[in-house]
Amino acid sequence: MPTPERATALQPSSIELLGEDALLLRFGDVIAPEINARVHATSRQIERQRPDWLLDIVPAYSSLMLVLDMNAFPGRDAQSEAIAWLQQQTFLPDGTGAAREVEIAVEYGGSDGPDLIDVARHAGLDIDDLIARHTAGRYTVAMLGFAPGFPYLIGLDPALAMPRLETPRTRVEAGSVGIGGTQTGIYPQAGPGGWRIIGRTPQILFDVSRDPPTLLAPGDLVRFVAVTD
């Protein structure tokens, strides 16, 4: 007999009302791979049985937002109806293998990675070791935010963590790979940015004419591969 604990292994710790037309499912209060994994497993399960009234399913580090179509519930309260639906679902861990794996080719250093030397010095590593450690990591796209297609990656080797620039750059090139505190990410488009830029990928992270428009999706696994030109 399955125990109730097993059957509710993914259940959020709380469901909050967000505004008039959204719910926030909260799984924890910290950035932790196991909590983020529950967010994505729940997101995938909701996606598979996606009701028509669900407009958006938005994962974050430790929470998941559901945006509801209020017009789908004439005369009724959309948030209550959605909570009732959620309570009928059983969320089960979907195990490994459910996530996609994407390789990102990176040219480290040079004009593509103006902060590589500073990050290496800060970590007390030589540049080759830094690159080896960055490419050895297995990262998860915790969420896409800040700008279309910008992945917040968790899984950075703690030795490589470095605070953001005190004064953000006014222009960071598209494809720039950066370190911001304990996170690493990739700028999809040129623009201002405060992360330490260690390299750059020629891969296009956001192209609205593509389907899907972003290279990465929440929950994807990412590996960096060092390339030279």
Binding site: G19, L24, D29, S63, P148, P213
Partner: protein, 312 residues
């Protein structure tokens, strides 16, 4: 600044792509109804001051939202009514006198390709609308319906009354429902009025006033929406609007209800807003009341259009 907007996009927030769309969807919708368009047709959103447009073909237009100085070949045209333009006229948008955003609807809508389900300009993502940016001198807009037989400028005497949504002489009120969590909405928010800072834009209204002191620690980034009230460490709240980013790290201190968004979208830098607490029941009732007013306006416009058609 002028951008192409419809009612915005849904379904892409998980990719970091926000909603965009008309800031004052109420005025945008009425402008569309006046020219016979569906509510979601693309209009031009003019912020504070607008462009000069040369119409190569005849068409029907309507301007709603801010009270703006709009002229057709030098003749001032009033808002909130359908105006028939003959081919070859020049429409010049001056400044918005009251309110911040005017909507120009054109019969048939402005033809731009829908991207991710919407014609709206996403300024942060630099896509949608006119090549992902505000209109520039020399741009050519394709209008979907053209070549109507209109011999002379025709300005009807009737118009739509946008009150109570937009009443310039009544101070703007933002009604707030609380976050489920933490200490609720801080009382300081309601204690005094807030001035709209010049740095405000389509992403959010940055408010200035007596700083709110609250011991809410920086939280980790979580999803946010238009209407979300954020409290940065300086104690000056930010009300997220149509171009809200998808995630935010500042503490969330409340949510401004939808029914109040049209008036708030019309706030100019330096103007003031008062926050007031609100129940979920009041939020829901206000939303329904607004939808009913819009439905009545749609009926009234349909009646006028029918009368016009049978009189011709």
């Amino acid at each position: 600044m002028t951008t192409v907007q419809d009612l915005g996009r849904t379904g892409s927030r998980h990719l970091g792509i926000g909603q965009s769309g008309a800031m004052d969807a109420y005025s945008h919708t009425i402008a569309n109804l006046l020219v016979g368009n569906p509510a979601n047709a693309a209009t031009l959103e003019v912020t504070l001051a607008g462009p000069t447009l040369a119409f190569r073909t005849s068409t029907i237009i309507a301007v709603c939202g801010a009270d703006a100085d709009v002229r057709v070949d030098g003749i001032e045209i009033p808002g909130w009514r359908p105006i028939r333009l003959p081919a070859g006229t020049t429409l010049s948008f001056g400044a918005c006198r009251r309110g911040a955003r005017a909507y120009l609807a054109i019969a048939g809508g402005i033809r731009v390709s829908a991207l991710l389900g919407s014609a709206s300009t996403d300024l942060r993502g630099a896509f949608g609308g006119m090549r992902g940016r505000a209109l520039m001198r020399g741009d050519v807009l394709d209008i979907a319906k053209a070549g109507m037989a209109i011999a002379a400028l025709d300005i009807p005497a009737w118009s739509i009354d946008p009150s109570p949504e937009l009443q310039w002489d009544i101070p703007a009120i933002a009604r707030v429902i609380g976050p489920d969590r933490s200490g609720g909405v801080p009382d300081d928010l309601f204690a005094s009025s807030w001035r709209v800072a010049p740095a405000s834009n389509r992403q959010g209204l940055r408010l200035e006033g007596t700083a709110i002191t609250q011991d809410t620690p920086m939280s980790i980034s979580e999803p946010v929406l238009p209407g979300t009230l954020q409290l940065p460490p300086d104690g000056q709240p930010i009300l997220l609007m149509a171009d809200a980013q998808t995630h935010g790290g500042y503490p969330r201190i409340g949510h401004v209800i939808r029914a109040d968004w049209p008036r708030l979208a019309q706030l100019r830098p330096g103007e003031r807003v008062h926050f007031r607490p609100c129940t979920r029941e009041e939020a829901s009732q206000s939303r329904l009341d607004q939808a009913h007013r819009l439905a009545r306006i749609a009926l009234a416009i349909a009646g006028r259009r029918q009368a016009k058609a049978s009189s011709r």
